[in-house]
């Protein structure tokens, strides 16, 4: 997969949140084979304050993995918040990549696509390489591309819901409308079968976090997701058969014995 001129050796992008421990996080990331991990920004405590150094210790762990980081703007509800957070993330993590999230509804964490497009335009003009977390709306997708985005990340289902692909029809339409744009299903994946289904639709990659981090055995689930993404991609490239309504015998009928 190639995005913003960078060839990524894995089609799985993995989040770094919600793991039982830092050690399990790093082991799961390694098991996933992910080439990109998502990270975020929060208030950092000063020396002597409770929680002092936590962010720096986390960063040391991530840096030692040697992977690309994709900072997000999670928690932002406005253009101004998202742009400010992106500017700060660029300085902290030293990358122009930003996973742009602007929340429009707190129950579903559905993106505010109007603010998303505006923030994407501002950030692209400022030299960022924007990965927009969006819905499957085709018109919005077009606006995001117009704003300078070179990748689109539609949701499979609400973040953390584990519901899989809520609207496969719309995701298939998006793939067909934008055949040359890297497309990543981001959020809502709960099982390896969901990840494989996204890849079978021809999506270029899958971004997930909770499905691995909240599994009983995150490291094993990371391995399962890795294989599911690989299998789904291989299946897509193998040009799957068309489904049909009625049976078609796979065993040749020619030469069938007549016993009656």
């Amino acid at each position: 997969m190639r995005v913003y001129g960078v060839e990524l050796p894995s089609r799985l992008l993995l989040g770094t949140a919600l793991y039982p421990s830092p050690a399990i996080m790093t082991e799961a990331i390694r098991a996933s084979g992910a080439a990109v991990v998502t990270v975020s920004l929060r208030r950092e405590s000063g020396a002597g304050e409770q929680g002092a150094g936590a962010g720096q210790r986390f960063w040391d762990l991530v840096r030692d993995l040697g992977l690309r980081v994709l900072p997000n703007t999670a928690g932002c509800h406005s253009v101004k918040e998202a742009v400010l957070t992106a500017q700060m993330a660029r300085e902290v993590f030293g990358t122009p990549w930003i996973k742009l999230e602007v929340t429009g509804d707190d129950d579903t964490l559905q993106p505010d696509v109007f603010a998303l497009v505006e923030a994407a335009r501002i950030l692209t003009a400022d030299g960022f390489q924007v990965f927009p977390y969006t819905t499957e709306d085709l018109v919005v997708a077009g606006r995001l591309l117009d704003a300078g985005c070179e990748v689109l990340m539609p949701w499979g289902a609400p973040i953390g819901s584990g519901r899989g692909l809520n609207n496969p029809y719309a995701l298939r339409s998006m793939r067909a409308h934008f055949p040359n744009v890297p497309l990543v299903v981001d959020a809502g994946i709960g099982l390896p079968s969901h990840a494989a289904a996204a890849m079978e639709l021809g999506y270029d990659a899958v971004l997930l976090n909770t499905a691995v981090a909240k599994a009983g055995d995150p490291v094993a689930m990371a391995g399962a997701m890795r294989r599911a993404v690989e299998a789904g991609r291989m299946a897509y490239e193998a040009d799957p058969m068309e489904a049909r309504d009625m049976a078609a015998p796979s065993t040749p009928v020619f030469g069938t014995a007549a016993f009656a």
């Binding site: 989040g15 949140a17 920004l41 950092e44 020396a47 500017q87």
Partner: protein, 65 residues
């Protein structure tokens, strides 16, 4: 001078943003700063003068999805 750092009232001797980071123990930390909701890049912190009641945000790396 009384300012608000990461949502908490703080009394500091510092008069600019760079001095605040030193005074509050962020010397070697990988952080980014904002002053009254505007991003202040590292190289402009020393030129960012503070006044009573100003709001400062100091953000660092955290886990994310």
């Amino acid at each position: 001078m009384n300012i608000v750092v990461n949502g908490k009232p703080r009394s500091v001797a510092a008069t600019n943003l760079a001095e605040v980071l030193v005074e509050l123990g962020y010397t070697n930390a990988r952080v980014a700063t904002a002053h009254d909701s505007e991003f202040v890049p590292a190289e402009r912190r020393a030129a960012c003068r503070l006044k009573e009641g100003d709001k400062v945000e100091i953000l660092g790396p955290m886990q994310g999805g």
